[in-house]
């Protein structure tokens, strides 16, 4: 269904990818852990490696949970509901992470 309007009603998305240059918005959700009230939103380079993402974004956030230990807590991962097994220097883009993708983890 489309809007009913007087005259043409067409405006670009205010969150479209091109507004972020070589970066994109990425959502990170620790499923099942209510300590985090909602998934997080990050701005991350498409070419960012998985390791950098974990070290620079995932761990600092998850560290607010006193029960989290980066060394011992292990996760299974999905990107937009597709299971993935991310490797160290693989880029987010290569992992299938697109603009506003949802990266979900479940503690093993």
């Amino acid at each position: 269904m489309a809007v009913r309007s007087i005259g043409e009603y067409k405006f670009p998305s205010r969150s479209r990818q091109e507004l972020y240059g070589d970066d994109q918005l990425v959502h990170l959700w620790w499923k099942g852990n209510l300590w985090f009230c909602a998934a997080a939103c990050f701005r991350a380079p498409k070419a960012m490696s998985w390791n950098d993402f974990v070290a620079g974004m995932v761990n600092p956030l998850f560290s607010c949970d006193p029960d989290f230990d980066a060394a011992t807590t292990t996760f299974t991962w999905t990107v937009d509901d597709k299971p993935v097994s991310p490797a160290g220097d693989e880029s987010l883009e290569a992992l299938g992470v697109g603009h506003k993708s949802l990266i979900t983890c479940v503690a093993a």
């Binding site: 809007v3 009913r4 309007s5 007087i6 005259g7 043409e8 009603y9 405006f11």
Partner: protein, 334 residues
């Protein structure tokens, strides 16, 4: 406990809201300022109107007349809602007392016939003119930019329906408590050849895009009509044994004087604007040049009725007043 607490002096952390100290320095603010200055949203509107995708929700481009800082205009009356309704409650109460006084002494009935005709044929029909003013004020309230301006327009809109009701109550009184005069006055508004130019002028104003054009056009007609009916004819009434007319007219001329205060202040603010001042003056001159002929034609129709009823020099008065208006708003010599 309470007594001791109340004698303790607690130093306030701040005197008023931050926007006001940023504007006016660290001083207490008035309730008018707190309730009016910077109230309208100015940034980060989420969606465009479905009914007007080319504008933002609040958009200075709804008018050719602009203020660099919309709050460089403030209402000299400092009307926020409470003092506004208090002032108008007094107006309507005073009018009711006047009307009661006139009715108790049958003074409306005893008006000379020419004056009764004037009221029925020229004054009461203008309740519809006022009703048009109601729409013009509401339009300006929605599309003006900045609360100090739109607030005045909002009250002006409400004042118009109030004035229309004052005139209607006079009409009911003239008819001894029923609405016969209102019915004939409405027919005159729709059909009387001398009222058609004014009705046409109002209807055309309603479809002007620029709220300021609507407002200026109405003001031009006001200056002619209020000047004629409630000032010029008021003097005639006092000389001509129609004191009852004068008693009624004082309320409307009093309102008009009050209304002028903010209207003149707005014209002044437009003219002195550091960035848009010159363009505003040129635009205002152009508006007056374009709209005054219609306003004049409308007012002349009313004046012709007045002269038929009373031979009061109404047409001459209106023509003189219109020339003065044209001169006052003439383009500046460069």
């Amino acid at each position: 406990m309470q007594y001791e607490l109340r004698t303790q002096v607690i130093e306030p952390r701040r005197k008023t809201f931050t926007n006001l100290t940023e504007r006016y320095g660290d001083r207490p603010a008035t309730r008018y300022e707190e309730g009016s200055v910077d109230i309208q949203a100015t940034a980060n509107f989420h969606y465009r109107p479905l009914w007007d995708p080319s504008h933002e929700i609040y958009d200075p481009e709804y008018s050719a007349l602009r203020l660099t800082d919309p709050y460089s205009f403030v209402d000299p009356r400092q009307f926020y809602y409470a003092p506004y309704v208090t002032a108008r409650a007094h107006l309507h109460e005073a009018f009711a007392q006047t009307l009661a006084y006139l009715e108790n002494r049958d003074l409306v009935e005893r008006l000379p016939q020419g004056w009764k005709d004037l009221v029925a044929q020229a004054v009461i029909p203008l309740r519809h003119y006022e009703s048009g003013g109601q729409l013009i004020g509401a339009y300006g309230c929605r599309f003006g930019y900045g609360t100090t301006i739109t607030q005045c327009l909002s009250y002006a809109s409400f004042d118009r329906v109030g004035n229309a009701q004052l005139l209607s109550r006079l009409g009911i009184s003239l008819d001894g408590g029923s609405d016969g005069v209102l019915v004939s006055a409405k027919q005159a508004w729709m059909e009387d050849a001398d009222l058609q130019p004014l009705r046409k002028f109002v209807e055309l104003l309603l479809v002007e895009d620029d709220w300021a054009a609507q407002h200026v056009g109405l003001d031009l007609a006001d200056q002619l009509l209020y000047g004629l009916l409630y000032t010029h004819l008021d003097e005639t009434a006092l000389l001509g044994g129609a004191g009852a007319y004068s008693l009624v007219a004082q309320h409307l001329s009093g309102w008009f004087t009050d209304n002028r205060r903010w209207v003149d202040a707005l014209y002044a603010a437009w003219g002195r604007d550091p960035e848009h001042g010159a363009a505003n003056k040129a635009e205002l001159s152009a508006l007056v040049a374009r709209l005054l002929p219609g306003a004049l034609e409308g007012a002349l129709g009313v004046a012709r009725i007045a002269d038929r009823c009373l031979d009061a020099g109404a047409v001459a008065f209106v023509e003189t007043r219109a020339r003065a208006l044209a001169a006052a708003f003439a383009p500046e010599e460069s």
